[in-house]
Chain length 209, copies 2
Amino acid sequence: MATPDTRTQLLDAAEHLFAEHGYRGTSVRAITKLAGANLAAVGYHFGSKAELMAAVARRVIEPINAAQCAGLDKLLARTPDPSVSELVEAFAGPLFDEMSARDEGGSRTSRLIVTILSDPAEEARSWTGPAEDTVRERYLAAFARVLPGLSPEELWFRIRGILAVTAVDRLEVHQQPSPGCTSPVAGEAARRWAITFLTAAMSAPPTRT
Amino acid sequence: MATPDTRTQLLDAAEHLFAEHGYRGTSVRAITKLAGANLAAVGYHFGSKAELMAAVARRVIEPINAAQCAGLDKLLARTPDPSVSELVEAFAGPLFDEMSARDEGGSRTSRLIVTILSDPAEEARSWTGPAEDTVRERYLAAFARVLPGLSPEELWFRIRGILAVTAVDRLEVHQQPSPGCTSPVAGEAARRWAITFLTAAMSAPPTRT
DNA sequence: GTTTGAATGAAACGAACGTATGATTAAATC
DNA sequence: GATTTAATCATACGTTCGTTTCATTCAAAC
């Protein structure tokens, strides 16, 4: 590769460190050191540490959102009434794909997403942007067609359940590292386990009120 | 109530602030101020900020573990072959109960648990203690009896799925606060939705290999 | 009344943090 | 070659952090 510009190296380093130590646990000095840049580079290229984090979050989340949207488009173009399994795969699949494509097995990106979702910092609210809400509303409508009788509230709950399972599942795997059997096989197995698990969960009859 | 001792007030204040702003986002000064104690009180009663966090985590998690264990005991005393739904409720129920009993609707404790589970701080690994692993191994064995044909790895995946759904579900609710409709009704609805969702998920047939 | 020991208080320590500043370099434009 | 502009550099500022120190309080034990 040609020498990447400082801006990209800062994004890479920040993505790495934010995922590993969280937003508050990562100093601007550690980022610039890992990126081989000067301390002031963050301020120059991004304005502040928070805006750098926002840029990192956008770079990670946007391709996932795009893939989720494209998957839904392709699915609905084929049939107006897809199966629950197909919808689950279209929604959860990109979370595995994009995560696994970036780093070794996706555990790092998984951590980053959980950091984005759960960081109590007040700035975190603006990291994701409104695109994610649009995607989820589209899937809400699609699931509502396939799963009639489910109240919108319970459907929201279930869609958030998909997100929870896909985002959290690799956390503890990474925390207590299993001996050698990481990434390729484990990642594919987890993906298929998740589809099975979530398809059955989404297909459950409505909760009696 | 009689004047509670400083140690307890420190635990209460720390639980509050750790849940709201995370471990690194909470300063010892903020804790002692909220507790009405001196800055040095944390060092005197707990030794360090990290040990205070460990004490907070123990106080929150231990009753949940105890309730999970007791629920499983009671269930297995009644019948050696309980239903999946009963097992799910015995496992996930205490997560809702203990959480809802503590604070308003349990969203604060839920945040705290996610903080404990997902905080990338290296000390976080020692916060939970080995009791939690014991509980999960007991439930693993119980689920394995009821769900034959499932590999231990896939079963572990599914049990972690239960944890993910119950822990994460209220995060975003708290982040974008709905108007007034919090705690009592929403908490009970979420609990029943989760049981439905997770029972169906656990009951799914094994993933084809 | 004196002593003892746990508990609290006021203050300071050194370190690490995010950010801002001004000089310096390097390439592009004229 | 002079000028301009983007980028990088070394450095410092002011703040906040967790922790430590030592003096003080106060109730119980002797």
